[in-house]
């Protein structure tokens, strides 16, 4: 031991007078503070991570339109206006230097022009003469709003919207919102982080007034019930993660259905049935090594075997599934891959749980004449169940959050249809986070953060359950 080699100075020490004692104690104090500090750093890292994500799930935003609203609303032909009205429009819109030049070029100032001259001047001297008399969206009647919508989107989309909720039953505000999102392609052009928006809102509003005088702005949350329930779309303002959540749920449930029976059975075999043969020790070593294989390599296994070699089976084509996907990049391939990935975790936890079962239980059962399997099934497993459950929960949490193998196996980055069963193409929550986080643009960060909150809540709930369950078990044993 190192303790025996670190020798204490041989010269006699006068107790309490040795100056080195105080120095050593001071060092010990610093050392303790340093050790504690490193733990604090780890905790601060966790807090900063959570704050950074929170900071992006809401905040002030400025909206801009891709299309000028004035170009889509009905406008009154200039000919129908009266002369004073035309004069007013001309005075408001013809640039002042041109107005001053009018007497020279046209022979008279604006005030003296006839109606036709005014119309001509307006057409010649203003940049967008057609929008001058456009009526703002807010002044239109409901019927006219629907007409605007009908004129500017495809018939299919119009009918789809109508069947979701008939236009007659929608309120004015809803209709205007629809026009803004469907026709004007309203989008967020600038965002501010949550905390800045909360604590220095006046400064932000001042900046908005200066830089975006005509734009709408508001405080908005990116994590909303709509975000969780909506379809995936390419626009961060309206997209949702329902498809990804359903994909995650279906994929994880299939994974658990495959991995739990196999993993538990393997754990039982290794603890209760396996002798000390060479084969069994190879299996055991192998399981430990598997738990250290990078997850992306499981993805490559899945790609080569489940997606490519067994493509006919995993796409469902071999089972006569109507309208099968073109390749094996389906939920079942992902689940099989993920099952192999979490298998070592489940096996090792099952083994630990079975090891903790007192030997006397087995002996008692065997002595009463029960067979080996009866003993395991009736006595060992019920006692080991909570411990095995811990492993299953941890495995589930891992499967929910794992991304790398699914990229390789082929989770879609963008898909609009919900998964219908094990043989459909799919996307999962972490995959969406990855694809949004890798896109440029503030708003993609915002929705990635919102999706992360959903993912973290699920994963942390699972992990907490496992931690609490395990701590209870430790106390009861």
């Amino acid at each position: 031991m190192a303790a025996t080699t670190t020798s204490i100075p041989a010269q006699p020490i006068e107790i309490g007078a040795d100056p080195s004692v105080r120095r050593r104690q001071r060092i010990a104090g610093f050392g303790r503070a340093g050790l504690f500090l490193s733990l604090i750093i780890a905790i601060i890292a966790l807090i900063v991570l959570l704050l950074d994500i929170t900071n992006k799930i809401g905040g002030m935003v400025v909206y801009g339109y891709k299309i000028d609203p004035l170009t889509i609303v009905p406008s009154i032909p200039l000919e129908e206006l009266t002369e004073p009205e035309l004069l007013q429009i001309a005075k408001d819109n013809v640039p002042p230097d041109r107005q001053a030049a009018m007497p020279e070029e046209m022979g008279m100032p604006l005030d003296e022009m006839s109606k036709d001259d005014l119309i001509n001047t307006i057409y010649n001297e203003t940049p967008n003469p057609d929008t001058l008399t456009a009526r703002p969206l807010e002044t239109l009647a409901d019927q006219e709003l629907v007409a605007v919508l009908d004129n500017n989107i495809t018939d299919a989309r119009f009918n789809q919207l109508n069947s979701e909720q008939p236009f007659e039953t929608r309120s004015r505000e809803e209709l205007i919102e629809l026009i803004e999102s469907e026709v004007l392609l309203e989008s967020v052009v600038k965002t501010w982080p949550l905390f800045e928006s909360l604590f220095s809102r006046p400064a932000i509003e001042e900046q908005i007034r200066r830089d975006f005088p005509d734009s709408d702005s508001e405080f908005r949350w990116w994590l909303t019930p709509q975000f969780i329930l909506n379809d995936l779309t390419t626009r961060p303002e309206t997209t949702g993660i329902r498809t990804a959540i359903l994909g995650s749920i279906l994929m994880v449930m299939t994974t658990i259905a495959i991995a739990v029976p196999v993993g538990v059975a393997a754990g039982i075999y290794l603890e209760e049935f396996a002798g000390k043969s060479r084969l069994n020790s190879i299996i055991q070593t192998n399981i430990y090594n598997l738990s250290g294989v990078p997850s992306i390599l499981y993805g490559m296994l899945g790609l080569a075997i489940f997606v490519r070699a067994l493509g006919a089976l995993t796409s469902g084509a071999a089972f006569g599934i109507p309208d099968p996907p073109p390749n094996g990049r389906t939920i079942i391939s992902a689940s099989l891959t993920m099952a192999l990935l979490i298998l070592p975790l489940i096996i090792i936890n099952t083994q630990e749980a079975i090891k903790a079962v007192p030997q006397s239980l087995r002996d008692g059962s065997l002595a009463l004449g029960a067979t080996k399997w009866q003993t395991v099934w009736n006595h060992v497993l019920p006692v080991a169940a909570p411990g095995m459950l811990t492993g299953i929960i941890l495995g589930t949490a891992r499967a929910i959050g794992e991304t790398a193998p699914l990229i390789v196996v082929g989770a879609a980055a963008y898909i609009t249809s919900d998964p219908r069963g094990p043989f459909s193409s799919f996307t999962v929550l972490p995959m969406q986070i990855y694809s949004w986080a890798s896109l440029p643009g503030e708003t993609f960060r915002n929705i990635a953060a919102a999706a992360i909150v959903v993912l973290l809540v699920i994963v942390i709930l699972f992990n907490l359950t496992a931690i609490i369950l395990r701590n209870r078990l430790r106390k009861s044993l």
Binding site: M1, A2, A3, R24, I27, A28, G31, R32, L35, F36, L37, S38, L39, I41, A42, I43, L46, L49, D52, I53, V262, A265, A266, Y269, F273, A274, N280, I282, I283, Y288, N289, L290, G292, V293, P294, I296, L297, G299, M300, A304, I305, R308, L343, I347, T371, W373, G401, T403, A404, I407, V408, P430, Y434, A437, A448, I452, L456, I460, N463, I467
Partner: protein, 315 residues
């Protein structure tokens, strides 16, 4: 004895009638067979991984433009252009992992020493679950954190012209945070396993708690700690999401941590995430990279297991 003696003949009679040989039980054997198959699936998984990586990599290495010498010495990775040097991918993996370990080793080990040697059982009860929560956060979340927090922070500190948008430092630092709980919890297990007697002997000789921890307990647990560090390195090698999001999207032979460079895992993720034709050299090349990665992590894991076994023999 006196009570039992009259019964003795009865036992002898029963022995004649009942055979105590193990009965062949079909159900039991079937169940045992099923359990064995399940146990063996893990071996199939390993064989599968090795076989898949090896066969596809073989296709890659038999391509006319690929030689083993070029694979290990060329400094440009662009398989479709005939340049197949894996060095840029390997150096990027090594740089990000080294940065990660520079964070994870001191913080993880210190946290483990504090938890094992200083913290009261009550404090440990609160602190350990926090570390476990840190360990349970999906890596894609860390990847997001690297892009959205660490990269801007580094740009702010070192200057936007020095630090590229994608850079290895950001990915490495965040990966370090991710590995802290792994190193901490494994080291803590090793430290807790050191017998109390050693500590008490050290205290008895007048050593402070710090001296006892650093000069007695840590050396006694050094093989377990080494195992923890190696597992940490192996995690860093295999980590994908953080480097895929933050380290860069193109192979780059550089040791400058503020430059973008793609790691082995990041490369596999990017190539396989796109539309991939099964006949292309891109497809077979990622399996060659995967094989390389597999051997690197397998070696580390075996060394770590060897350390743990050695350390178990001490007590």
């Amino acid at each position: 004895m006196a009570v039992l003696t009259p019964q003795a003949p009865a036992v002898a009679q029963t022995r004649e009638r009942i055979s105590l040989k193990k009965k062949p039980r079909l159900g039991e054997s079937l169940i045992k067979g099923f359990l064995f198959v399940c146990g063996f699936i893990s071996v199939f998984t390993t064989i599968g991984i090795v076989l898949v990586l090896a066969t596809e990599a073989l296709v890659f290495f038999t391509a006319p433009e690929v030689t083993l010498v070029k694979f290990f010495t060329d400094t440009i990775w662009a398989p479709e252009a005939g340049r197949v040097g894996i060095l840029p991918l390997v150096t990027a993996t090594l740089v990000t992992s080294a940065i990660a370990m520079m964070i994870a080793l001191p913080i993880g080990l210190s946290a483990a020493i504090f938890l094992s040697e200083y913290a009261s059982p009550k404090a440990r009860g609160y602190l350990k679950p926090i570390l476990e929560l840190l360990a349970g956060i999906p890596t894609v979340v860390y990847g997001f954190f690297a892009v959205s927090f660490m990269t801007p922070l580094l740009k702010g500190i070192f200057g936007a012209d020095v630090v590229e948008f994608y850079n290895m430092a950001s990915a490495g630092l965040v990966m370090g945070i991710m590995i802290v709980p792994i190193v901490a919890s494994m080291s803590e297990d090793a430290l807790s396993a050191v017998p109390r007697g050693l500590r008490e002997a050290s205290f008895g000789l007048g050593a402070t708690r710090l001296e006892t921890s650093l000069k007695v307990v840590v050396p006694a647990a050094v093989s377990g700690i080494a195992a923890a560090v190696i597992v940490g390195i192996s995690r860093a090698f295999g980590e994908t999401m953080i480097v895929a999001l933050a380290a860069g999207a193109g192979p780059n032979f550089t040791l400058n941590p503020f430059k973008a460079a793609e790691t082995m895992t990041g490369h596999i993720a990017r190539i396989s995430g796109g539309d991939l034709s099964y006949d292309s050299i891109d497809y077979t090349s990622i399996f060659a990279v995967g094989l390389m990665l597999f051997f690197m992590t397998l070696t580390l894991n075996m060394i770590s297991r060897w350390f743990v076994r050695r350390y178990r023999e001490v007590y």
